[in-house]
Symmetry: C2
Subunit: 146 residues, 2 copies
Amino acid sequence: MDAFMQAAIAEAEKGLAEGGIPIGSVIVHRGRIIGRGHNRRVQQGSAILHGEMDAFENAGRQPASVYAESVLYTTLSPCAMCSGAILLYGIPKVIIGENQSFLGEELLLRGRGVEVEVLNDPSCVAMMRRFIASHPQVWNEDIGQD
Amino acid sequence: MDAFMQAAIAEAEKGLAEGGIPIGSVIVHRGRIIGRGHNRRVQQGSAILHGEMDAFENAGRQPASVYAESVLYTTLSPCAMCSGAILLYGIPKVIIGENQSFLGEELLLRGRGVEVEVLNDPSCVAMMRRFIASHPQVWNEDIGQD
């Protein structure tokens, strides 16, 4: 598998080890990771630090020219908030580990010209399925459903 | 003016006094403010703490039932990221100070059934116009344009 998706999965696993929701993300500029992140709802009591948002935050303030040449990797299909961040900053390409556990705003992204690639990687699917089965409430809270 | 929009403006003014971008927001549940926030790009070097996002974060982890009865007030039309957060959490109503300095994703919000009210309050417009004129670069960075 692509080393960058492996890095996103490593972030998800780090979150899981912390007792959190196992979703990870990295932002890659010209072949170099400029931001890594994972969901911090449980760990920090955060309502906004989804994996992708955490990666944006850890990448820090970047000029539009950097975002325009970046690719965002995420282990799970991005929700409306994270898709909105992708649109705000003009990220042109998003690579998604899987969209079977949760289908985010892929249509919105594609409709705005973002290239979206879905790997449906079995290890990403298995990680989310296990977490959702064992922690349905925190998962539903994370997607605004509970 | 509505006391909640006044509270959002007070947040924007607090941000301005800190040297930041003057955009503020409050989230109101059943007539009580549960989260206040202002843009923290300059103050914290944050790429994700727009005023609305900061208000969501300060409101903390909330169940869907609370968001479903909440109104978000923001001094400026919400960008794609903040609109995405509004959609993620199912906020049914958004009251916007002004959309003349920046027109966010109001159409997307309305298209998803969110009630959007735009006040076009002259004090909100004047605050943003002054800031944008004196700090064009940080403003453009904040909306992914520079």
